[in-house]
């Protein structure tokens, strides 16, 4: 119930920010950007495994937002809308790319989640690199389900609609994806 209230408040706040944005309020745009840019970049980078391309995707999504906000009819949370927009553009980028490649990070830095001390970060780096490589090896549709669920917090219903598949198929792809990751990490991660 608390989550529902929090979600409802976030949606109201988003709608208020979008209303301000429609009226040319740059502070509202900055607030929206600061609120979602980090999560969207993480989402795009995990989908593409190309941080530079991920930054371009996120920038394009925000530019598209400011251009279309006069006719934008938000039917769900702004977070879900932006996450889906990133997923769509990432998929297009992925398709255009001749083959997957792991690009060196230029401006972007991969960071460990908060709460990790220096020793733990060093200890985790190897595991995280393995995990990142394992995620990159997942078939794109499976990877997309896993990343949209874990990093965008989308419901399986929303992911199924995004991929134009049934909820059952989305759930299967998620489970298969996690199983493959566990297998790739060779038991280093508890179930």
């Amino acid at each position: 119930m608390v989550e529902r209230h929090a979600g409802g408040f976030a949606m109201l706040e988003d709608r208020r920010l979008l209303w301000r944005l429609r009226h040319g309020d740059k502070d509202a745009l900055r607030l929206i950007y600061e609120r979602y840019e980090g999560d969207l970049l993480t989402l795009a980078a995990n989908l593409l495994h190309d941080p530079a391309a991920a930054e371009d995707v996120v920038q394009d999504v925000f530019i598209s937002l400011v251009r279309t906000v006069p006719v934008l009819h938000l039917r769900r949370t702004l977070r879900a809308y932006l996450a889906t927009a990133v997923a769509n553009r990432a998929k297009d980028h992925f398709r255009k790319r001749s083959r997957e490649r792991l690009a060196p990070m230029e401006d972007a830095d991969q960071v460990a989640a908060d709460g990790d001390g220096p020793v733990q970060i060093v200890g985790d780096v190897e595991l995280m690199n393995k995990l990142r490589a394992a995620v990159a090896e997942l078939p794109y549709e499976q990877r997309e389900v896993v990343i949209l669920r874990v990093h965008a917090g989308l419901k399986f219903r929303e992911i199924a609609a995004h991929q134009n598949i049934s909820i059952k198929t989305a759930l299967s792809r998620y489970q298969y994806g996690l199983d493959k990751l566990r297998s790739r990490l060779n038991g280093e991660v508890p179930k």
């Binding site: 040319g24 745009l29 950007y33 840019e37 530019i63 009819h73 972007a108 134009n164």
Partner: protein, 298 residues
């Protein structure tokens, strides 16, 4: 596993974030430069489609397919082909032209597309009247006027008045926000503003007696939509104003085998409309004040 995956996070540098924000602010400034001027009336009317026009469009498509068309950047020589120049200049010119036009007429209808490509045009079609802050939508079923809706500003929202002639009822409903999502002129603006991202030049074709040039834009260029959603916009090569807009590949609810296309065309600009066009009219005698969903089933 999920908690470990959540640690796979990326963060841009502060410098990169500032650069990105600057680009986004610039895009916002450009969008606002071409926003509709306040106080200027833009009126749109959508009129009914005709068989003749459908034949003309089919003929145009056949000509394009059989005759071949000149794609970017190899256009026919010998006449001004402004669309072959970078879109940054003429795209803004189109937006500016939309600012100066006070009235527009066009039609809107829905075409259902089957898995084999077969098409079926819905018998229901709309006539839209669009002004700066008020709208009217006349809905026809074939030749019969089924309903009129008037959208009148009310604070930060709008009140929709309606009269259902087929159900002999009337009423009013308040909506949040503007009508813009259904505003054909707003759609023109969005598409014209995205021409620099057009995925394909469709070439030239004769539509409704106009020499036109068309562009294809994937809907994911302007919103969070599947890449199967594709829009075509055709401009008159003389006036540079839109002649036809097609929103294709939209899913049919409950029927994954079919899609539908929304077609807006037969645009006529500077239409003269009666002053009371946007004033809700009283219902005919005998109509009851009720929402259609609340009416007793026949």
């Amino acid at each position: 596993m999920e908690s470990l995956l959540r640690k796979l996070r990326y963060q841009a540098t502060a410098a990169r974030r500032e650069r990105t924000l600057e680009h986004i602010f610039n895009a916002m400034d450009e969008s606002q430069e071409h926003a509709p001027a306040t106080g200027r009336v833009q009126i749109g009317r959508m009129t009914m489609s005709t068989r003749t026009v459908r034949f003309a469009l089919a003929a145009a498509v056949i000509l394009v397919v059989l005759g071949g068309i000149s794609f970017w950047p190899c256009g026919r020589s010998g006449k001004s082909q402004w669309w072959l120049a970078p879109s940054a200049a003429w795209g803004q010119e189109i937006l500016a032209a939309l600012d100066t036009d006070r009235a527009v007429t066009c039609r809107e209808q829905t075409v259902f597309v089957g898995p084999d490509g077969s098409q079926h045009t819905s018998s229901t079609w709309d006539t839209f009247y669009v002004s700066k802050d008020s709208y009217r939508r006349d809905i026809y079923d074939g030749q019969v006027l089924r309903e009129i809706q008037w959208y009148v500003p009310d604070g930060d929202g709008m009140i929709q008045h309606y009269v259902r002639y087929d159900l002999r009822c009337y009423g009013a409903t308040r909506h949040q926000g503007r009508f813009a999502v259904n505003d054909p002129v707003a759609w023109m603006r969005v598409l014209a503003g995205q021409l620099d991202k057009a995925d394909r030049l469709l070439g030239e074709a004769a539509i409704e007696g106009h020499d036109c040039v068309g562009f294809e834009i994937h809907a994911n260029q302007y919103g969070s939509y599947p890449d199967t959603w594709i829009d075509h916009i055709w401009f008159d090569v003389q006036t540079k104003l839109p002649v036809r807009i097609e929103q294709m590949g939209r899913p049919v609810t409950g029927d994954a085998t079919r899609t539908f296309t929304i077609v807006m065309d037969q645009f006529v600009y500077d239409a003269q409309l009666p002053a009371d066009t946007f004033l809700p009219q009283p219902p005919p005698a005998g109509f009851i004040n009720a929402h259609p969903d609340d009416l007793p089933r026949r």
